[in-house]
């Protein structure tokens, strides 16, 4: 085991400081060290998007960023986003459109969809598909997820 490095970061608004091995990636840090298991781990090489986390405001692959790189930064996980109520309408749409199913991809999908709707308030279905193309879902065939994101966007525009 290599020397532990002290990491101090804000996670969902709470300051945490832990000694971590440099090889620990960010998603394992939040899951094992902080016991925030809402972020999932799928492929561990950046393909599936299940581990999507916000680092310094931007969505990233939690498996492709080291925990030591979050030192001095801000981390937001699905737990923080969920508890803040910021995406409750998106979560309701996922539920009513049955866009969750097994739930493995759902936290990553929600974080990605939230980032999309911040950047682009009225995405087309094609834009939604392109934006979530880095998040794999093996249940829904994506149609329900695209529906849920589109519904949320329309509701936020007062068109729902």
């Amino acid at each position: 085991m290599s020397k532990l490095v002290q990491v101090t970061t804000s996670v969902n608004g709470e300051n945490v400081s832990r000694g971590v091995e440099p090889r620990t990636n960010l998603v394992d840090f939040v899951r094992y060290d902080l016991e925030l298991t809402g972020s999932h781990v799928g492929c561990e090489h950046g393909v599936c998007g299940a581990c999507t986390i916000r680092l310094n405001g931007n969505i990233v692959r939690g498996c492709l960023v080291l925990a030591v790189q979050a030192d001095g930064g801000t981390v937001e996980t699905i737990e923080g986003l969920s508890e803040s109520g910021k995406i409750s309408d998106l979560q309701d749409s996922f539920l009513s459109r049955n866009a969750g199913q097994c739930g493995s991809c759902t936290p990553g999908m929600l974080l990605t969809a939230d980032a999309l709707l911040e950047e682009n308030k009225k995405p087309t279905r094609t834009e939604i598909r392109e934006y979530i193309s880095g998040n794999y879902c093996r249940c829904t065939g994506y149609e329900a997820i695209v529906d849920a994101i589109e519904t949320t966007s329309k509701k936020r525009q007062g068109e729902g």
Binding site: S2, K3, V5, R23, E44, G46, G49, Q69, Y131, G134
Partner: protein
Amino acid sequence: MKPAAFSYVKPATLGEALGLLSKHSGDAQILAGGQSLVPTLNMRLSAPDLLVDINGLDELSGVKLEGNHIRIGALTRHVDIENSSVIAEHCPLIALAMPHIAHPAIRNRGTFGGSIALADPAAELPACICALEAKIEVVGKGGERKIAAKDFFKNLFDTDLKDGEIVTAVEVPVVTPKTKLAFDELSRRHGDYAMAGLAVTAKMDDKKIENINICFFAISATPVLAEGAAKILNNGIMNDGSLKKAIEQLESDLDPLPDLYASSALKMHYAKELLKRNLGNWIS
């Protein structure tokens, strides 16, 4: 899988980073965006003793217009290039390529210099900078040097970078009103690795084509310039006949390497189709 154990250091200056790379020659790897390095660590395809995290070197970041070229710092993240008005206005070829590079979460971390230094054969940016006749600035213990993009990419994941050297920036010429550009790629899904891709730059003066660079990626071990096809199109007004000849010429210009998804013959078909689709609409 989880990476093998390594030590980690985040230098505050470029000099410190170069010192560390020189001291730990062969055992250290540079961590920039990490979007290609970390997967290889996770899969234990790579197990360096030391990671030198250059993300603290702010001087390596940013896009600057400097006269007739743009200087793109190596540590500039894809997302910042995608959102850069300087790139959109003065180097639209790179702006066209950006949405094809992986996915938003990866573009938020991945860096311009990292893509160049890695030299993935399916990567968009190496082909763009070859087509643009860009220059790559590197620095090492022996000092700075600039390398023409077409001389930089040597083989599969192999470049002209010497041990201990770091890519610091890429100098890209700005477009003029006569510049013509094209960028396109074929992939199984948006954001996936390209099965074949094309970046083209040219000067069009009163319909006459000059200085055309036709660069393919995901075809060979490195970006490949179709020089024979360029020769056919240069110094003439393109028509259906000359474009057809240029497309046929690709049989001699390219020697596609098959990959998991496409045979050599299929890649040749894709390359021809890309040239047809993208240059066909230049014919007026």
